[in-house]
Symmetry: C2
């Protein structure tokens, strides 16, 4: 009886590092061959450049580098294994998003991606021309129909591959994560497999790249749409799929299936992965962050420690007159719990020095948010000085609800290289904090229980100037993710006053978000490449 071992190589490329990614590919194939007896190894979409390569695709030497890398792979990859790997390729003047097939030292076939996403975070039509032809390659009697990512979200390329005689569909992906994406993806694969009555092997990358994070979850569904094998999410992994021929059809044997995790664990893993890869791939020694005694910085600290270990994390409490005693106590307590470097730098001398210098200019004016922002900016300057001196990246700690309505100070609490919770709504910040504490206590319970406050004025609470976070987040999800109009949100049961206030704040604060650090995107509409709004904007709320 014929069989075929296909290994799904769920890897983490470094964008732009073409020689390094080729080395990773060569090493991966050897390992898949030695450990799993691979007949076929499938790597992710655009693996040789990493995804997304963005305007590196326009560089003059891109093609030379890829030619060299592919030549080296052809010379070094072990024999008798068929390798399918993604890279960009120019053919007859047009650039394509391709999958190449390497066998016994020869690149024997190429497929060009047909469906090029150009929405949300994707800009593929900026670079690529669409392919039009299917590709089926045969190995050990099995005919593999090659597809790339978006192709499998469309019916046409999938049916085309079936009609070209494929026994097994193999799709290379660089499919970024957002909440619930893993289950959406699986439902889609089940539907497509049933539609064409063929098994589908789906190979996705993992790791973080700027605002994107990839969750992996590479898998195989059988011709009835049943999940047969699945690699873990959030880790580099080689997972074999054993196909056997039964009555002329190639059927995947049931193998290991990574168990589902809770929504909280899944999201938390995304944040840890995004931060870890940003810091490590950028070569930072570690991170420094301001610890305020509030929930956002507390969760960010826990994520940082889980991503980098406590030795690489430096926390600073920067109290002022409005900092509550319990904030100081809780910050110190958490730093101790997690074993991170910790120092206390009061900001009063600097704030007062600025106010004295500005006294003449401000004469006759009322106290307003200027003074609040000044506190926040003195903290920002301190963090940046520590960052510069110690080579640590500043971790920004504002959540999505704040970034949406501009409840953050430019050059103040918004300073930093990366924000692990940038795309996490405040209500989810609480959920994640509580969930993480069930694993082990990392956040003092009082931080979770007390009412949130920016502590920039006496007795200030977030609810003084914003709707409660349950309401705020519910409005924001509808406005940002749902593109609903203010009127439609009001019709869904929210107060007109709240909705108009929130919607206007979101529109007005585009200028702030444009200067915010990048952070890991975990919703369907992150603030970044995902949501492209004008700053100068005459749009008024209304139907």
């Amino acid at each position: 009886m014929q069989d075929l071992t296909l290994v799904m190589a769920q890897l983490d490329p470094l964008v732009g590092d073409i020689p390094g990614n080729a080395d990773r590919a060569i090493e991966t194939v050897r390992e898949a061959h030695l450990e799993h007896g691979a007949d076929v190894v499938v790597l992710p979409e655009l693996f040789l450049t990493g995804y997304p390569p963005e305007d590196l695709l326009l560089r003059a030497s891109m093609e030379t580098r890829l030619r060299d890398a592919r030549a080296r792979m052809a010379a070094k990859v072990v024999k008798d294994v068929m390798v399918v790997v993604g890279y960009p390729g120019r053919r007859e003047g047009q650039l394509y998003n391709m999958a190449g097939v390497l066998y016994n030292g020869e690149w024997i076939a190429e497929y060009a991606k047909q469906a090029l996403p150009n929405y949300l975070v994707f800009d593929e039509q900026r670079y690529f021309s669409p392919g039009t032809q299917p590709l089926v390659v045969e190995h050990k009697g099995a005919r593999l129909g090659i597809l790339i990512c978006e192709d499998v979200w469309k019916e046409e390329p999938v049916r085309q591959a079936r009609d070209a005689g494929a026994d097994i569909l193999v799709t290379l992906n660089a499919s970024p994560y957002h909440q619930n994406k893993p289950s959406e993806r699986l439902r889609l694969l089940e539907e497509r497999a049933r539609d064409v009555a063929l098994p589908i092997v789906y190979v996705n990358q993992i790791g973080g790249q700027d605002e994107l994070v990839f969750d992996g979850g590479s898998c195989c569904v059988d011709a009835h749409g049943k999940l047969a094998v699945q690699a873990p999410h959030w880790d580099i992994w080689l997972r074999p799929v054993q196909f056997i021929q039964e009555q002329g059809k190639w059927v995947p044997r049931e193998g290991e299936v990574d168990l589902d995790v809770s929504p909280e664990e899944d999201l938390y893993s995304a944040l840890v992965t995004g931060l870890r890869d940003y810091v490590n791939k950028s070569g930072f020694q570690g991170v420094v962050l301001g610890l305020s005694g509030g929930i956002d910085s507390a969760l960010s600290l826990a994520i940082a420690v889980d991503a980098l270990g406590p030795q690489r994390v430096h926390a600073v409490m920067m109290p002022y007159h409005y900092t509550a005693d319990i904030s100081r106590e809780d910050a110190a307590e958490q730093a101790k719990l997690l074993g991170v470097n910790y120092e206390v730098l009061p900001i009063a001398p600097m704030v007062e020095s600025f106010m004295e210098t500005l006294a003449a200019s401000f004469a006759g004016t009322e106290r307003d948010t200027t003074e609040e922002n000044l506190q926040s900016r003195c903290r920002g300057v301190l963090l940046m000085a520590l960052s510069n001196k110690k080579g640590l990246m500043v971790l920004t700690t504002g959540n999505k609800s704040e970034m949406a309505v501009g409840y953050a100070t430019l050059y103040g609490d918004m300073v930093g290289g990366y924000n692990a919770i940038k795309d996490v709504y405040k209500t989810w910040v609480y959920r994640l904090a509580s969930w993480r504490n069930t694993e082990s206590l990392v956040i003092p319970q009082r931080v979770i229980d007390r009412p949130p406050s920016a502590e920039l004025a006496p007795d200030q609470q977030d609810s003084d100037s914003l709707p409660d976070y349950d309401t705020l987040d519910a409005i924001l999800v509808r406005y940002i993710e749902g593109d609903m109009s203010a009127e439609a949100i009001i019709a869904a049961g929210f107060s007109a006053e709240d909705v108009y206030r929130v919607v206007k704040l979101v529109d007005r604060c585009e200028y702030k978000r444009r200067q915010a650090p990048v952070g890991v995107r975990v919703t369907q509409r992150g603030f970044g490449r995902d949501r492209r709004y004008p700053i100068v904007n005459g749009w008024q709320p209304g139907d």
Copy 2:
């Protein structure tokens, strides 16, 4: 003898303000009718939304608003005038970039743009489906072939309009400016007109929208490619083109042609327009900027005064120990020359207060750029405090050469809402300063003549750490605008040491640029939507 008066309406829409833009259109048609006896009025591409509307196109109420606006136009626009105007329109489920034709209260025809640019700053395939059909409308016996912007850069849609029987090609545009674009555009129109032996009427918008600035220069070339009429650049304008019928062909009468301006005047006008529109359309009372005694802030101040008038400009000199006496003198002198508000706020008390607070953390470390950045950040905090208190936008003053190599301090001299010279290389900063002084003295000559210095350390000069600006800019233009590899630049005659240093700096500083304020784009590759590079990037220089 038949004749036809076509009025080119070179307008400045407000992005997102659909009702307001419709009002502008109604008013414009009335004026064109009364003052010029218009038979046809042509307005720019996507005029009703403004260009580019970006993700506002995804909003649920976009279509309702456009329907209302077009209904109001149909009811209010004067009779007997044919109006051609751009707007997005959904037809059979697809969104198109359209030109609609309004006549005597009826929308009688629509054209859908065929060539959708998706490169550089353009993302039109993110939103629009391409049209496939030509549109020719007849008025007073003249058959007008309608095209939209990119269509006229391609041969196919132009020939299609001719084949459909057009006598005159009419193209609606939102064509952003870059240096030399006006002459490139004119050459293209000459070529296209000759190719199909038809006159072309080209209507472009003017004004600034975030990083884009539109120069206008609406014009008509005759069937031989000869410029017959041209509206001024950089101003709202209604300019008529008189067509007469001669031997069965429609020929434009020679009319007013706006004279060419120098490259310096053209670029300077772009910067003034970009800044003026950003500030006014955002509703700021004015701007505040740090005046250092150096050339960048001096030029920025001159631009700000030309854009907004001296009453709306507030300049602050923020000296420290390393600020030369001549810097103080020249800053004061320029503020006096231009009649702007001016104050001096020394930063020593704040800098020293930070250093004392950080003394324990910094114990045993060497002095490095941390201390330099600290000075710059104290200035940033002061400017932001003035901005917050007085409702003035901070004008950022870093040039493109600095932004390219990261010779700027995040949250220091990079603070601000807008940067008028963000896309101007240092060598051009000098050219513009000298040119502006020939009009009237606005920058003390010594500011132009002295060697550039950031004045963040004793006796510091820019040339200590960078190649001279002629060399630096020559390398940058090749690397950024030309996408040349380091090796190709070296082969063009530059030192390998300089080239590798510059190229590495450019690649490494993407994280800084990502948090920079927007500023007016005036080259073919501005740092913004134009050049999309990964921050985490393993690309190494080399062929």
